[in-house]
Amino acid sequence: MKAAILLFPGINRERDMVLAVRQSFGHEPQIVWHKETALPPGTDLVILPGGFSFGDYLRCGAMAAHSPIMPAVQAHAARGGYVLGVCNGFQILTEAGLLPGALLRNASLRFLSMDTMLKVERADTVFTSKWQPGAIFRAPMAHGDGNYTADPATLDRLEGENLVAFRYADENRNGSARSIAGIFSPNLRVLGLMPHPENLVDPLMGGTDGKPLFDSLAAA
């Protein structure tokens, strides 16, 4: 699995993502600057990490969704390539139309930084195969705008087509519709989620709960 990590100005969790990918994949991911117009040849997985692309000044992810690299990401997804967006990366994917819905301000109107518990809704995907179905794992979250929303028909479709990837299993702190923390595209090849599995892949940092995400991808 050859991974490319996109770097938009204001992204700040790319180094964390490199650590997680390096550990599970056994090789270095490529960092791709947002002003590039092509992905490195042979890219299997495109990762959009967390942060504050363009300062979140217009709307989280809205500017990055129009960066020069994004047509190449759209084409990669259309070809059936794998895409992972975490936190701001998830927001960018919704703004780019690669995933439905939107992430609103947290219901509390405050930034939320703490560990949350996530339930694995399905373990038969390339992103989740190393978990047991229904497994509950811990992941740090750190966001001001993680309140997932979509119109009721879209939510019903996500549920009906079994495209909810993760749900908040302890407390739905940001107010997300139906406790949704992450969703898949219909072909199960694009995943977006708000919490940060990449920050829990080393016992020294408090645990390895997030490691199965990267191990699953490495095994694909």
């Binding site: 964390d16 930034f111 930084s113 001001g144 990449e198």
Partner: protein, 725 residues
């Protein structure tokens, strides 16, 4: 339109009559408005340290591991493996009262720039905060704004906020303290300094455009507050953390090349202080053409541009043959790159705008003739002893009251708004250990970082309080297993023109000095904030100390969460000292008596023993005993571990809540207890077995009364959420 330049104007800029005469003498004529502006900010308390310098000089600043002590943008120490830790703490007190969000946010931005300007990638932020009486609505507004501001800036730039401290006291009602600390990492052979060199080299401006914000901010930081302070809102700067993030990445990328001769951020007094200090340190002259300064407002004058404190700006001296490469890197990050002047051999700062010379000042006299005051001071009278106390409040009741009080309750509501994990290297987050632990990239090493001071001790006895502030940071770092290396100090005091305030300052310094010497723990950077008074009422003397230590192996770090089935040992001498304790204040309603003395020999002996026992793996969890005393420390262990405690030691309120110094609680395996106590005895260190951790979900006191963990947690966690509900 022209402004008349006279003493009345100089006075409104903060200069006194003698200083005004000196300006005229140096210039040999009446200064221009821009020149007067430059003199007044460079000679402000904030930039010149005119009241504090004579005392700061006494602090120890050297050790074999110190690479750069005070005088650079931040302190630099060698932490092994060819790496340096670069750190400093700085106040943003005055702006944070007027406009809490932006005041705190730009405080974080400013201290980050002081660190990355030296070539370091920032890896941790901490903040030491003091607020007024929580029952006042204004305090709630300030707390909310400051916390949002720190989070808003730090979260966006992607530097984890990993620790800090918060106190409340009515003396901070109109004058909260926001002290922000940044720690960064650089290679020891890639450290960037600010001394300009190379006649003809271009002076390059990088970052945000210049506006009219923050003009005379340094002067505002050098006066007392009064009812009109709200009118100073326009002098508070506005932060842009996104641009700061770009600036960090652009500067660090440029620093991988050999293009930079010197670099400094534009902090207090903006373009003035950066250009004057860079040229002055290099012993050269500098000429600025302000027409080339990127501006976001029209019609700005030279005076306004020289004094603007617009944020997220850096000044660089470049090698001329590298300017194109440098421009390409800066512009890649969508930042302004502008050549706004060059280095000269004149020893003068010359400022031109629209073809007119707006300022032409000799640099040496500007620096050397800067005022220096040995202000009169008086010693703080020693407090009377406490006398007999009524210690009949039941232990459980006293504990529940204390851990629910604003100064001791959980800070979760605050740190839950700060991103503490970004970077992927945070080994111990807030409320897990006595110091934050952050691992270094591609290394086994980690830094242990903390901020501490106990202002209620400092006001009662500035000497002991100064000692205690330094010692507590040393102890907090030690309790994680790390070796403390150096400190940064952020000296927050009242009006130095009052002899009793100057006495607090001078005496705190003496106490800090003694502790630094006894602990081999030098001061490598710092900041002074004076005139922290509102309508004549000073804050408690608050010398906030930021300490940094190193662990050779991050895996050796311990926190204070303990597994069940461990023995608890109290290390250090316990006399039951209740003077100035939180027990005295919260339970008995008194704020008097002497603070606990710090026996620095015992501090060192106990600490070195504890650290060795952690590194040997004997101590599995450790917590220093500080505010609230032994029983509060134990309650914090129980809550962090989510495990019960069965306590067996017998003692009165003084034993359980006294704030004697140089003490720790250690948790160790039952099999290790006898050997541990024997080793302590051989080292002459008291080590009393006081109980154990248990699987039952409660804290059982020696009298048999038990408090369930949920009850303890509800009391501890209640204050902030209820306040902001």
């Amino acid at each position: 339109m022209s402004t008349e330049i006279n003493f009345a104007l100089a006075k409104s800029f903060g200069l006194n009559e003698a200083e005004w005469s000196k300006v005229n003498e140096i210039m040999g004529r009446t200064p221009s408005l821009t020149e007067l502006g430059i003199f007044s900010v460079m000679w402000s308390e904030h930039c010149s340290y005119k009241s504090s310098r004579v005392w700061l000089k006494e602090l120890p600043t050297k050790a074999p591991w110190v690479i750069h002590g005070p005088g650079e943008n931040a302190g630099v120490i060698d932490i092994g493996d060819g790496l340096a830790a670069i750190f400093k703490m700085e106040s943003h007190n005055h702006p944070s009262f007027i406009e809490p969000y932006q005041g705190a946010a730009t405080g974080v931005g400013g201290i980050l720039r002081d660190v990355f300007t030296m070539g370091a990638r920032p890896i941790a932020n901490l903040n030491a905060l003091r607020f007024g009486d929580p029952s006042l609505p204004v305090t709630k507004r300030v707390v909310d704004g400051v916390v949002r501001g720190i989070g808003g800036y730090g979260n966006c730039v992607g530097v984890p906020t990993v620790g800090g401290e918060v106190n409340f006291h009515p003396s901070y009602n109109g004058n909260p303290l926001v002290n922000a600390m940044t720690v960064g990492i650089a290679k020891t052979d890639k450290i960037f300094l600010s001394a300009a060199a190379g006649i003809g080299n271009p002076v390059v401006y990088v970052g945000s455009k210049t506006g009219r914000d923050g003009i005379h901010g340094a002067t505002m930081a050098s006066t007392e507050f009064d009812a009109s302070s709200e009118e100073k809102r326009p002098t508070v700067q506005v932060g842009d953390p996104f641009t700061e993030k770009l600036l960090i990445e652009a500067c660090l990328e440029l620093m991988q090349t050999d293009a930079i001769v010197a670099i400094q951020d534009m902090g207090a007094a903006g373009l003035t202080s950066s250009s004057v200090e860079m040229a002055g340190k290099g012993g050269v002259g500098i000429e600025l053409i302000l027409d080339n300064v990127p501006q976001r407002e029209t019609g700005m004058t030279a005076y306004e541009m020289m004094l603007s404190e617009s944020q997220e700006r850096m000044l660089l001296i470049l090698k001329p043959e590298r300017r194109d490469m440098a421009r390409a890197i800066i512009e890649k990050w969508d930042l302004d790159y502008a050549e706004i002047g060059h280095i000269t051999d004149t020893g003068r700062i010359v400022v031109k705008h629209n073809g007119v010379t707006e300022a032409d000042i000799p640099l040496d006299p500007l620096a050397e003739a800067a005022p220096l005051y040995r202000r009169p001071w008086v010693e703080t009278p020693k407090p009377a002893p406490l006398g007999p106390l009524d210690l009949t409040t039941p232990l459980d009741q006293a504990l529940l009251t204390l851990i629910a009080s604003p100064d001791l309750c959980s800070r979760r509501w605050i740190f839950d708004q700060y991103d503490s994990t970004v970077g992927g290297q945070t080994v111990k987050r807030p409320a897990q250990a006595d110091a934050a632990i952050v691992r270094l990239e591609d290394s086994q090493r980690a830094l242990a970082i903390t901020t501490d001071v106990t202002p209620r001790y400092c006001v009662a006895d500035p000497f002991e309080g100064g000692k205690q502030a330094v010692a507590e940071t040393w102890r907090n770092i030690t309790a994680t297993g790390a070796k403390p290396l150096a400190i940064t100090d952020n000296m927050n005091f009242g009006n130095p023109e009052k002899p009793e305030i100057m006495g607090q300052f001078a005496t705190c310094i003496q106490g800090m000095k003694q502790a630094c010497e006894a602990l081999d723990y030098p001061v490598v950077s710092g900041n002074v904030s004076l005139y922290n008074e509102t309508e004549g009422r000073p804050i408690l003397p608050t010398p906030a100390i930021g300490g940094v230590g190193v662990l050779d192996n991050a895996a050796q770090a311990v926190g204070y969460a303990a597994a069940p089935g461990l023995e608890l040992v109290l290390i250090g001498e316990t006399h039951g000292h209740l003077g100035r304790s939180l027990y005295l204040r919260e339970i008995l309603g008194r704020e008097d008596g002497p603070p606990p003395p710090v026996d620095l020999a015992a501090e060192r002996r106990n600490g070195d023993f504890v650290r060795a026992q952690i590194q040997a793996g004997t101590i599995q969890a450790c917590h220093d005993i500080a505010d609230g005393g032994l029983l509060v420390a134990l309650a914090e262990i129980a809550l962090a571990s989510n495990t019960g405690l069965a306590l067996t030691a017998q003692g009165d309120g003084g034993f359980w809540f006294g704030e004697d110094q140089a003490r720790y609680v250690a948790a160790l395996a039952p099999a290790a207890l006898a050997g541990f106590q024997a080793a302590a005895q051989a080292a002459g260190i008291p080590a009393q077995h006081i109980g154990r951790t248990v699987t039952e979900n409660k804290l059982t006191l020696p009298n048999g009364i038990a408090i369930s963990l949920p009850q303890l947690r509800d009391a501890h966690e209640g204050f902030f959420p209820a306040w902001f509900a």
